[in-house]
């Protein structure tokens, strides 16, 4: 019977929901995951088609507002310079992610002690270390051992190919004496756990037809299902319900037939991401929680961190085969990851060297910007640009600020009438300075590598709100945080949050490996305390 009481209900089947489900599955508890989207069919992904660059399919837009699938909910991001991008399906945003997989650094958990800003986390890198390793194995992560910018670890699979492009850029970084390294990537470079290796198709951001990119629908979920976890798709949760003793009783949701149901549960775990989670908590109002469940601190939705993004592109005199290989994964540089006050800002950023543009993107951008003319000169100019471009992204650490937040929109709703999240966000002066520094260093690196022409995109780049963090922060003080140091709500003792909402700071790298390590750590903490979980 679907609505009997279950031990655990997990809301959201993305990166963190999958990891927590897998970890808890060994307890043999009855676990149900409710996901508003469906399973994806990789045969529909654009790389199956010759017109993949212009193929209009379910995965061709990264903004839910443009995509507008049944599983999507609208997001009002008109009051933010950065638009929110995501995906809603089994696999969550990992369906579209680039799978660039660097870990947070030990210093990221200690920013108050080290640099006097934001707050320290109640946990540290070394607490998470075994969970990073476990996650690398479960996801299938490629990389090169020995990166001196991060504590020693051994990715289970060999690094992704650098290509001529990677070598060229690496030489540039060497000229400057700057750190660089092949990126850890959640992409399998050899056959692994029944999955085929990466074929260098390129368009990882529209879904991987080969199944080489480790999205959680093909890494964690099949294993968790075999271990007994039930995934209920096309089920959108409306509210978490609560009793008079401040214990969650379960969740109210619309099933695939659009019928409202109540799933009773002993434990509720929220894994809807840094925007979806505060939205659900704020919407779960009751007499006990008039401002939203688990929100006695008033901090649910606040301290939203988005990693303001910048970027520079370089054009080289020789072909680099730069459009081949996993689009978002090649190299990184962590030369400027740590605070140096002489730079005029605190904390730092990661440089993410990504592949060049494929033919249509090259021509389209060239025509729109005027760089590629009309007429006979078209051919020469196209040739100069195609296969010779390299991009460097700047991922700036975003510091928590309470005025940056997710609230409920007064008017906009999803197809079930749930209020849409509204983003109130301003890029801080510190982030803008960091992006100015980072884009200038990106240009310097491209020039050192031999670029004959460089350009910097206006920043923060709008369509780059892909890292959603901080909106239900972790801490030991119930007045200053939403969950405790192992992910349990301070206010509701059987309610847990396991996604990037619990992050205290944002680090300066793509967050998903750290989100999943935190989710595995929380699951482990729960398993260790099963007998006293609600004390």
């Amino acid at each position: 019977m679907p609505n009997d009481v279950v031990d655990v209900v997990i809301i959201g089947a993305g990166a963190s929901g999958a990891a927590v489900a897998w970890s808890l599955a060994e307890t043999r508890m009855r676990i149900v995951c409710l996901e508003q989207g469906d399973w994806m069919n990789p045969a529909t992904y654009p790389s199956n088609f010759q017109d993949w660059e212009v193929h209009h399919g379910e995965t061709s837009a990264i903004s839910p507002n443009h995509r507008n699938r049944d599983a999507d909910y609208p997001i009002n991001d008109t009051e933010s310079p950065i638009a929110i991008v995501n995906f809603n399906a089994v696999g969550g945003s990992t369906i579209l992610y680039s799978a660039h997989f660097p870990r947070f650094h030990p210093s990221d958990f200690r920013v108050r002690s080290l640099d006097g800003v934001a707050d320290d986390w109640p946990i540290d890198y070394f607490t998470l270390e075994p969970f990073f390793a476990e996650n690398d194995r479960n996801m299938g992560v490629s990389g090169l051992h020995g990166d001196p910018a991060i504590p020693e670890h051994q990715p289970p699979l060999p690094h992704i190919p650098l290509g001529r492009m990677g070598e060229t850029i690496g030489r540039g970084f060497n000229k400057l004496g700057w750190h660089w390294w092949p990126s850890d990537s959640a992409i399998i470079t050899e056959p692994y756990e029944g999955r085929g290796q990466c074929l260098n198709l390129g368009p990882c951001n529209t879904g991987c037809a080969q199944g080489a990119k480790s999205s959680v629908d093909i890494s964690y979920w099949p294993v968790a299902q075999r271990m007994g976890v039930e995934v209920r798709t096309n089920c959108r949760v409306n509210q978490i319900t609560v009793d008079s003793k401040d214990m969650a009783t379960g969740v109210e949701y619309w099933n695939a037939d659009g019928v409202i149901q109540h799933q009773r549960a002993e434990v509720v775990i929220v894994a809807c991401n840094g925007v979806g989670t505060p939205r659900l908590l704020l919407h779960s109002k009751s007499a006990r929680f008039p401002n939203g469940i688990a929100n006695r601190s008033g901090l649910v939705g606040k301290n939203l961190m988005l990693h303001p993004w910048g970027g520079a592109s370089g054009l080289f005199a020789i072909p680099l085969e730069s459009h081949l290989g996993p689009q978002g994964c090649c190299l990184l540089s962590q030369e400027f990851y740590e605070t140096d006050e002489s730079r005029g800002y605190v904390r730092g950023y990661n440089l993410q060297i990504t592949r060049g543009s494929p033919p249509i993107a090259t021509a389209r951008y060239g025509i729109a910007s005027g760089a590629i003319p009309w007429g006979t000169a078209h051919h020469d100019e196209f040739e100069k640009r195609y296969d010779r471009s390299v991009h460097i992204g700047v991922c700036a650490e975003d510091l928590p600020e309470e005025h940056n937040q997710v609230v409920l929109d007064d008017v906009l709703t999803d197809s079930n009438g749930i209020p849409a999240p509204k983003i109130l966000y301003q890029t801080s002066e510190n982030s803008m300075r960091m992006l100015a520094h980072g884009t200038a260093r990106a240009v310097e690196a491209l020039e050192a590598a031999g670029a004959i022409e460089t350009s910097v995109a206006p920043y923060p780049i709008r369509m780059a709100g892909w890292h959603l963090l901080g909106t239900a922060r972790m801490g030991t003080d119930p007045e200053r945080s939403v969950v405790n140091e192992w992910g349990r709500s301070h206010d509701v003792r059987n309610l847990f949050i396991v996604d990037g909402s619990v992050f205290v700071t944002s680090g300066g790298v793509n967050p998903t490996t750290t989100i999943q390590a935190v989710a595995l750590y929380i699951a482990d903490a729960m398993k260790q305390r099963l007998a006293t979980l609600f004390d």
């Binding site: 030990p106 210093s107 090169l144 001196p148 190919p161 650098l162 368009p203 290989g325 021509a363």
Partner: protein, 156 residues
């Protein structure tokens, strides 16, 4: 003259003729590279299939070209020499940098999907999946200086 987007033929014969000339002006044939003219890759059909509504704007802009040809030279655009066609087109593009830009964007999309063009730029004429591509793994000795510098992560 109907400009209805529901029509099977959203452009008149004259507009179609001007469209072909403009496409050839945008990307002319390059026989040394083996690249055809953009007038020869099926741009009309491409737009018909994907966004026929764009023809309303494209038709309007083509009419502007024809009108300028009439007012300046008392001829239809199709009757001008290529040199004068280029001058006429440039005149409108200088006045408005977005003139015929929607057409140009769709034209390059269609153009770089043509098998002759893909071959000319060194791409196999097939979807990326399932055959994929080979990418050089890279020379890891380039990392020697990075290794030699030793640990750079900040101790806590």
């Amino acid at each position: 003259m109907s400009q209805s987007i529901a029509s099977d033929n959203p452009l008149t014969n004259v507009q179609r003729a001007i469209l072909d000339i403009v496409l050839d002006q945008m990307i002319p044939e390059d026989s040394t590279r083996g690249k055809p003219s953009a007038a020869d890759v099926g741009v009309f059909e491409y737009i018909m299939e994907r966004s026929p509504e764009s023809f309303v704007e494209i038709g309007r802009q083509i009419n502007k070209l024809d009108a300028l040809a009439s007012s300046s030279y008392e001829k239809r655009y199709t009757e001008l020499t290529r040199e004068v066609q280029d001058e006429t087109l440039n005149q409108l593009r200088e006045q408005d940098s977005r003139f015929l830009l929607t057409l140009a964007i769709q034209a390059v999309e269609c153009y770089y999907l043509d098998s002759r063009v893909m071959t000319a730029i060194g791409l196999p004429t097939r979807p990326p999946y399932p055959d994929g591509y080979t990418v050089h793994r890279g020379d890891l000795t380039l990392l020697d200086p990075v290794r030699e510098r030793g640990q750079i992560w900040r101790r806590t």
